[in-house]
């Protein structure tokens, strides 16, 4: 496995280098800049120019890029133009919130996705398959923010069982923090689970007809053993890839869920950074998002190889 990971390093570095150029240029293509954001809408040209010079934004783009890239390589993520604080500090302040949300949402996504997929893919119960299909269809059709708002209404307004606004970090108070985390994580997980469920169900139904399943059945394997030991294990490969891809989507979905539930995670940070044209913050967050996607893909390949002996990482 180490050999496999080592072989991946050059391509990862290439991806990150290309991303750095895109991350640098993309925010600068939009009108406005951090100086404008700090000056405000009623500022004069003179005021904006003075702030721009103080921020060093009057240097050439090439010089700005090199300054930033050099710092990035040395581990210095730069200073936020708007907040005048280290970008690393701003990200670390918010990271716990997003990590908590992403992890619990992943658990919901995996448990619900695989659970619904097995329910629909097991050949035994037609009723279960109909229920699974209906639930999947409903969840696919309803966007995450609608799910979030419905959860707020049910659990926060009608029944008042769980808080619907704000957050308490798990490290500060696990019990209270978990209650704040439940609904947003469930909203996010529910939005992503049906894709996995549908994929798993389809793969399992296809696998049911394979020769090795017939052989196992002929040898007297119980329906439960057939489903879990033979069909499910063989069918999980595609779902694991889907889970890996959706892990990256979690962070995109987190932006909307964080806004609805008034959580202050990285999703809200990047929205604020884009709105205020806080270039360095946007650049680093884009790089981080790409890095997370790359790492989750690598992990997916490793898990896949572990589950399916036909797959060798070195291949």
């Amino acid at each position: 496995m180490l050999k496999f990971l080592a072989k991946k390093i050059p391509s990862i570095l290439l991806v990150l280098f290309a991303t750095s150029i895109i991350a640098f240029l993309l925010p600068r293509m939009a009108p406005g800049d951090p100086a404008q954001a700090v000056a405000g809408s009623d500022a004069t040209e003179e005021q904006v120019a003075a702030i721009r010079a103080a921020m060093g934004l009057d240097k050439s783009l090439f010089v700005q890029y090199l300054d930033w890239l050099g710092g990035f390589v040395r581990g210095d993520l730069g200073m936020s133009f708007v907040y005048n604080r280290p970008v690393s500090e701003l990200i670390l302040d918010r990271a716990e919130s997003t990590i908590e949300l992403a992890l619990l949402a992943s658990v919901f996504m995996i448990v619900l996705g695989i659970g619904l997929g097995v329910m629909g893919g097991a050949a035994r119960s037609k009723t279960a398959r109909v229920v699974a299909d209906s639930v999947n269809t409903l969840l696919i059709a309803v966007p995450a923010f609608v799910v979030g708002l419905l959860l707020i209404i049910l659990f926060g307004v009608v029944w008042r069982l769980l808080p619907v606004s704000g957050e308490v970090s798990l490290s500060e108070d696990f019990g209270i923090g978990f209650q704040y985390l439940l609904l947003p994580a469930l909203a996010l997980g529910l939005a992503l689970a049906p894709g996995i469920a549908r994929l798993l169900q389809t793969t399992m139904l296809a696998t049911q007809g394979e020769d090795f399943v017939d052989l196992a059945r002929a040898k007297g394997a119980s329906p439960r053993r057939l489903t879990y030991r033979h069909v499910l294990r063989t069918s999980l490969g595609a779902s694991i890839v889907a889970i890996g891809m959706r892990f990256g989507e979690l962070f995109g979905g987190a932006i909307i869920i964080e806004a609805i539930f008034a959580r202050n995670g990285l999703g809200q940070l990047i929205v604020q950074a884009v709105n205020s044209r806080d270039y360095l913050l946007v650049q680093v967050l884009i790089m981080a998002a790409v890095l997370i996607a790359v790492i989750s893909q690598l992990l997916t390949e490793v898990v896949l190889a572990a589950m399916d002996p036909r797959i060798r990482l070195e291949d």
Partner: protein, 516 residues
């Protein structure tokens, strides 16, 4: 050995039992929030006020009088004077002021015994430093242009200073109203919000950018100490989330709430709605672009717009004022007879368009991409279609809009939004992009300059006439004109008392308390 079915069932029941016991032993977060919103039966000292606001704080822009700082700046930082309801300056950090007969020299006497939050006593050097900060373009102070007209500021003693003006400066109290007094040694801490030092009844403890801030009572305050222990400010960008925060008891006070959400709470006796400061929704045109190079066409569109409909459908009648003027009714010399200079008259609009040869003209309306602005733009577009123009909308997101407004390039027709900030018309002439030199209408005639100068140099007796003349000219030329003024509304729970606001809508929490 494989578990029997019975053992499996028992294990499941045991696991559920443990989970239930654990959860029942946990404290409920909802109950905690409910306890926060339950209040004792009478006003009591102490407690924490929870504020929610839609935009992030901007301590680095404290001189720029941003709305984002409205939740905390006037409770932490103080100014030399503050306007009362009649726009008469009242002493705060300055206790006395004397203006020379020629209006070119002012002597200020400062309050003694005022301490900054770092323990040092405030002196005239701090006042001089703060005014110079306002004058520095890098701090983007909206009243900084007033300070730039000073020829000198001399510190005569720790509590006395003399300001020399280059010309009579009738709006100097606008500068005093909106310039917080800060200590020089602590100014660097404002840049990243790590150390905000003022003289107010609350000290600024901490700020997590984009998330929250915390203030605590300053016990060495020169005046009556605040009743509250703390103020917590939460940044909640989503309007639905802010409404949920108020309804769930997480927030006691909500700033910058959407008008439709304010309306939904207004009928509920558990909440109070307080009107604060005004903003203007003007409609401007470029006099360099046809058909608006002709005055008849400019006047036509002013007659074409149904202002009452905008007030009712977009802002709510309680949160708006139908007026053609940039001035608030409280300003001295307010020309009330000009308030509705342009009544809604589509037939007159059509006649004027015919006179201008502008019937069927294609007009692009550039609008700021905020919800209320786009709603106003839709009504304006509909009204202009009715009188025979062919309008299209160009909605610009705020950053793009700001960049174009600074350059004075908003196209043929545009719908900005200006905070009026509780200042004098003389200040608004140079502060508002729609009225100042380099405005996006590209309107700058000798007569306009003359009337502006007349207002700036008018004596007390001449002021009302000068304001009337200038106002009438601006309305007649119609290069810009207000459609409606909106009044910012703050929602508080019914148990919040004593909260007040400055003329620019900043929260004053010194007398605030929580009761039932």
């Amino acid at each position: 050995m494989a578990m029997t079915r019975g053992a499996k069932a028992l294990s499941l029941i045991a696991a559920l039992g443990v989970a239930t016991a654990t959860l029942s032993g946990c404290q409920s977060a909802v109950q905690l929030e409910d306890k926060k919103s339950e209040a004792p039966a009478e006003i009591v000292a102490g407690g924490t006020l929870h504020l929610a606001q839609a935009g992030d704080l901007a301590p680095m822009s404290v001189m720029a009088e941003r709305a984002a700082n409205g939740s905390w700046a006037s409770s932490v930082l103080e100014t030399l004077t503050m306007y009362d309801a009649d726009m008469t300056p009242q002493p705060v950090l300055a206790t006395d002021w004397t203006l020379s007969d020629d209006g070119l020299t002012m002597q200020l006497t400062l309050r003694e015994g005022v301490k900054f939050h770092n323990g040092r006593e405030m002196t005239a050097d701090d006042v001089k430093f703060s005014i110079e900060l306002s004058a520095d373009p890098a701090n983007a102070a909206q009243v900084g242009f007033i300070a730039r007209t000073f020829t000198s500021i001399t510190v005569d003693s720790p509590t006395q200073l003399t300001i020399e003006f280059g010309a009579p400066t009738p709006n100097v109290f606008d500068l005093f109203e909106q310039t917080p007094i800060v200590p020089e040694e602590a100014w660097k801490g404002f840049a990243d919000g790590s150390s905000i030092i003022g003289t107010g009844p609350f000290a600024f403890d901490s700020w997590s950018p984009g998330a929250e801030a915390h203030l605590s009572r300053y016990d060495d305050y020169w005046g009556e100490p605040a009743l509250l222990d703390d103020i917590e400010i939460a940044v909640i960008t989503d309007s639905t989330a802010m409404l949920n925060a108020v309804r769930s008891g997480r927030a006691d006070v909500a700033l910058q709430m959407q008008p439709v959400d304010v309306t939904s709470l207004q009928a509920d006796s558990s909440y109070k709605v307080i009107n604060t400061s005004a903003s203007a929704y003007p409609m401007g045109v470029s006099v360099e672009v046809a058909p608006f190079d002709k005055k008849e066409a400019r006047q036509a569109i002013q007659y074409a717009v149904d202002r009452e409909r905008i007030a009712e459908q977009v802002l709510g009648n309680d949160a708006s004022r139908v007026t053609d003027l940039f001035w608030e009714p409280t300003v001295p010399g307010y020309p009330a007879d000009l308030e509705n200079y342009y009544s809604y008259d589509p037939e007159k609009a059509k006649d004027l368009l015919e006179q201008a040869g502008a019937v069927g003209a294609e007009v692009e309306i550039t609008t700021l991409g905020l919800p209320a602005n786009t709603a106003v733009a839709e009504i304006v577009r509909n009204n202009l279609e009715e009188v025979g123009l062919k309008p299209t909308l160009n909605v610009q997101e705020p950053q793009a809009w700001d960049a174009n407004q600074v350059k004075g390039e908003l196209g043929a027709m545009f719908l900005p939004l200006h905070g009026l900030g509780g200042v004098q018309p003389v200040t608004l002439l140079d502060r508002l992009p729609s009225l100042r030199e380099g405005n996006p209408s590209h309107f700058w005639t000798d007569e306009y300059v003359e009337l502006r100068t007349d207002l700036i140099t008018a004596t007390e007796d001449e002021y009302a006439d000068a304001l009337h003349a200038l106002t009438e000219y601006v309305l007649d030329e119609a290069f810009t004109g207000v459609l409606v003024q909106s009044i910012s509304q703050v929602v508080t729970t019914a148990d919040v008392n004593g909260i007040s606001f400055t003329s620019r809508g900043y929260v004053l929490a010194g007398d605030a308390s929580i009761s039932e």
